[in-house]
């Protein structure tokens, strides 16, 4: 049985088909890329899956539960976590408190009124920071962290919910080339260790082909291709509408 089942998912803005009759499956532990040109509907797709937007039509099942139109926090509780393209962290909190905020949300402690209720969360928060390589920076305000570190922090916050599926919106956008691969390798290690499924969008084809088990391609709100990286490279329609020649070949030739 697949972890995520998407059937006929549709969201229109006025006359624009942001997402149109999207259907696909995702298995547990699978790492899948969602690519497409700007405006193809990837971000809307993420917003629909994570509950930030409600679909006009279609259904989404996650781990056997119908999550269509559920509020974001319910979806998260079921084990579907996400990160944002621009790292969304709590700037005024230090790194540790960012993760603790995520943990207390999971524990339903956001209305707890005694400071000591936070203490038991500290160890787990430190462990999560360590997993993304931020244990040294636990006391630093998030606002002063480097961009890549903020991405790591966001990942730690997503992991705090012990998700089974991670939606990562452009995990390497804005990072220097060297840093990208470091982050991607760490990510992969974490994913494998916990048998997480990952759905991610990405512009860097090197990253896509390096880690994706499967690639989905969107254009004008519709899914135009699904397949292994090799199949996608060879897919004529993908080459025509999305890759405009060049990009795929670059990826092929890169080490």
């Amino acid at each position: 049985m697949s972890l995520l089942e998407v059937r006929g998912l549709t969201r229109h803005y006025g006359g624009v088909r942001a997402v149109h009759r999207l259907s696909f499956d995702l298995a547990a532990g699978e790492v899948c890329a969602l690519i497409g040109p700007n405006g193809a509907g990837k971000s809307t797709c993420f917003a629909l899956l994570s509950g930030l937007e409600r679909p006009d039509a279609g259904r989404v099942r996650f781990a056997g539960t119908d999550i269509t139109g559920l509020p974001p926090q319910r979806i998260l509780r079921l084990g579907l976590a996400r990160t944002f393209q621009i790292p969304a962290v709590f700037s005024s909190l230090d790194a540790l408190d960012n993760v603790r905020a995520a943990l207390l949300a999971r524990a339903g402690l956001d209305f707890a009124l005694l400071p000591r209720r936070l203490r038991p969360l500290a160890d787990e928060a430190r462990a999560l920071l360590a997993r993304v390589g931020l244990e040294e920076l636990a006391d630093r305000p998030a606002a002063t962290l480097a961009y890549g570190d903020r991405k790591r922090l966001e990942l730690a916050m997503a992991l705090a919910h012990r998700p089974r599926l991670l939606l990562l919106d452009e995990p390497t956008a804005g990072l220097a080339l060297g840093e990208r691969f470091a982050l991607v390798d760490e990510l992969l290690a974490i994913v494998r260790a916990h048998r997480l499924a990952v759905l991610f969008t990405e512009h860097d084809m090197d990253v896509v082909f390096r880690i994706a088990d499967r690639v989905m391609v969107m254009d004008h709100g519709e899914l135009i291709a699904i397949g292994t990286p090799a199949e996608i490279r060879a897919h004529p329609r993908v080459r025509a509408v999305y890759l405009r020649g060049g990009a795929l070949d670059d990826a092929e030739t890169s080490p």
Partner: protein, 619 residues
């Protein structure tokens, strides 16, 4: 028939003058994002200048109209001066800072007008040629009012032409719609802001001056005008000039016909309409939705629990306060009680402004609900002090929950303005529902139980309650609840996707802040023995803001306490001086402009610099 026509036209005439002033405010807000509390003062200045000029210039149409125009131009020039000297320094600051700065300005301008024109009421002459009446369907209609009916639409048209047909207008629109784009277009922001502020001041001056033949000039005009103009601007939509026109007409016609049906509740009526509109359309009639402006950068530092030295110092201070009755004369104790009550009020407001990032312009609502709750409990129900205080807290909490239910989804300026409206409705109710509240005469005889009434006992009780409340506040801020609040403030969307509940958290924090403000209000009622509508007045809300800003926005409770102490002591001392407005206003300006992180922040900065210097000297 004629009666209704003339009533309608008279409403339009009043709306015109109101619209001019409001257009200036909304224009300035649209471009600079400054909520200018001193805008009413500019209108007052224009009116007084016109009065003086018309008196000096030769009689005749030229003298009269010349006087009006020169007055408006002089106000524009004055506005320019204010912009360059003061406001330019606070553009980057969050709304509350700007509001406090302009509140300080308003105090200064009031003293300026007093010096220049004297304290007496003034009524200006009518313009030659427009002094009479014409008969419309059998009803007399003043010709000057008829002229004013056309002024509003004419100015609206001129502003429209300015916006659409001139380069200046294009830049103004670009700047109000998209600042970054405007910067990319190569707009010189400084010059544009100065020009817009001068234009806004001109409109305020003109609006004030044109009221010369219809309204008595007096020194309370500034506050009166600003409250009405806020109402109109918010109702119309912040930044929307046609909206301001529509709202001005709506409000004035509501008054013109409302007094026929409900002569006793005209005040409540206007604010009630505003609240209803805002609930349905938070952005006002013609305003555009705006997302929150994001948290104040000053807040973007983590809060740390106090170190052992700070704890020790606090413990010593509390110990000293316990012993205070044996150290100072009775009046010192009275003053210390005032400081503590005000500190509690300021700290409850700080919880909203700081950790929760909710800009409340109407915090007096909860203070006032508490005060009236306690007073009514004593006066009507004959309850003792403690049950009355409990009722005060309950009344304020209920009010906060009600407001939270309505305003939970609003952010930034719209939240601020709805809170202002909420407090204004309560104030107007307290003034006009005198069967319950005693109106302006207030509720008297609200003294503590006999066993609590000796000054020392009362002082110690207030001390205990205040310290407990402040400890509670601090605990909350460092508890998971406070952490969640700060997370929601920093990034509401992120917080929601993580499973925090922004709406519920906001309602909860409003309830907590409301409850503590209500306790402060109840204590205030017992300390003074009486309650009057001024506990709900906008000035009380602003005083709270000023105290919080004086103390410093960042932090977890020490700031507002220090700010409140400074404010109460400063006001007490300054109230002996004839120029207390200048003193208080000047202090506010000085702190907001020169020490934007407040007294605590400023001291911390100085201490840091000193430590660095010591280290350098040692190294």
């Amino acid at each position: 028939m004629g009666f209704f026509l003339v009533q309608f036209l008279t409403g339009l005439a009043s709306a015109s003058a109101l619209f001019l002033v409001a257009a200036g405010l909304t224009l300035v807000f649209g471009v600079t994002r400054i909520v200018n509390f001193a805008h009413g003062s500019l209108a007052m200045l224009g009116a007084y200048l016109a009065w003086a000029l018309v008196g000096v210039l030769p009689a005749g149409p030229l003298g009269w109209w010349g006087g009006i125009l020169v007055a408006a131009l002089a106000v524009a020039l004055f506005g320019l001066l204010v912009e360059v000297v003061v406001l330019r320094r606070v553009y980057g600051a969050p709304e509350i800072f700007q509001l406090a700065t302009t509140f300080g300005l308003a105090l200064l301008i009031e003293d300026l007008v007093r010096v220049l024109f004297g304290p007496a009421d003034r009524l200006g002459p009518r313009p030659p040629g427009l002094a009479g009446t014409v008969i419309l369907l059998g009803e007399p209609m003043p010709t000057y009012d008829l002229f004013l009916v056309f002024v509003g639409p004419a100015v609206l048209g001129l502003l429209w032409a300015l916006a659409r047909r001139t380069r200046f207008g294009v830049l103004v629109r670009a700047a109000s719609e998209d600042r970054e784009m405007a910067a990319a277009l190569g707009v010189d922001e400084r010059r544009l802001f100065s020009a817009v502020f001068a234009l806004g001041a001109f409109l305020a001056g003109l609006g004030g001056a044109l009221q010369l033949p219809r309204e008595t000039l007096h020194l309370e005009m500034d506050l009166e005008v600003i409250v009405e103009v806020f109402l109109v601007t918010v109702l119309g939509g912040m930044g929307s000039i046609p909206g301001a026109f529509l709202a001005a007409v709506l409000i004035r016609e509501l008054e013109a016909f409302g007094i026929l049906l409900f002569p006793r509740i005209t005040l409540v009526l206007a604010f009630l309409v505003m609240a209803v509109v805002l609930v349905v359309r938070p952005q006002g009639l013609l305003g555009e939705t705006e997302t929150g402006s994001g948290p104040d950068p000053r807040l973007l530092r983590p809060l740390r629990p106090a170190g052992s030295r700070a704890r020790l110092a606090t413990a010593l201070l509390v110990g000293l306060l316990v012993l205070l009755p044996w150290l100072v004369p009775p009046y010192g104790l009275v003053l210390a009680t005032d400081v503590m009550v005000f500190a509690l009020y300021a700290a409850s407001l700080h919880l909203l402004l700081g950790p929760a990032g909710l800009v409340s312009f109407g915090h007096a609502a909860y203070f006032g609900l508490g005060a009236y709750g306690a007073a009514l409990a004593v006066d009507r129900l004959g309850l003792g002090t403690f049950p009355a205080l409990a009722l005060a807290v309950a009344a304020a909490t209920l009010g906060a929950l009600l407001f939270g239910a309505v305003a939970r989804r609003l952010a930034g300026v719209y939240f601020a303005m709805l809170s202002l409206a909420f407090a204004a409705i309560l104030w107007a109710t307290a003034v006009q529902w005198d069967e319950l509240t005693g109106g302006d005469d207030g509720i008297l005889g609200v003294w503590p139980d006999p066993r609590l009434s000796p000054l020392v006992v009362w002082y110690e009780l207030v001390l205990v309650l205040t310290v407990l409340a402040l400890v509670l506040l601090r605990t909350l801020i460092f508890a998971p609840f406070g952490l969640a609040l700060r997370a929601v403030r920093d990034h509401p969307v992120r917080a929601a996707t993580l499973g925090l509940r922004p709406g519920a958290l906001r309602v909860a924090v409003l309830a907590v802040a409301g409850a503590l403000a209500g306790l402060a209000g109840g204590l205030h009622a017992f300390a003074k023995g009486s309650v009057f509508p001024d506990v709900l007045h906008v000035a009380r809300s602003v005083e709270g803001l000023v105290a919080v800003l004086l103390g410093g926005l960042h932090g977890a409770g020490a700031g507002p306490v220090i700010g409140a102490a400074v404010f109460v002591l400063l006001e007490d001392w300054a109230s002996r001086l004839p120029w207390w407005r200048t003193v208080v206003g000047g202090t506010i300006l000085l702190v907001t402009v020169a020490m934007p992180e407040g007294i605590t922040g400023g001291l911390a900065r100085l201490a840091g610099r000193w430590r660095r210097r010591v280290r350098e000297a040692e190294g």
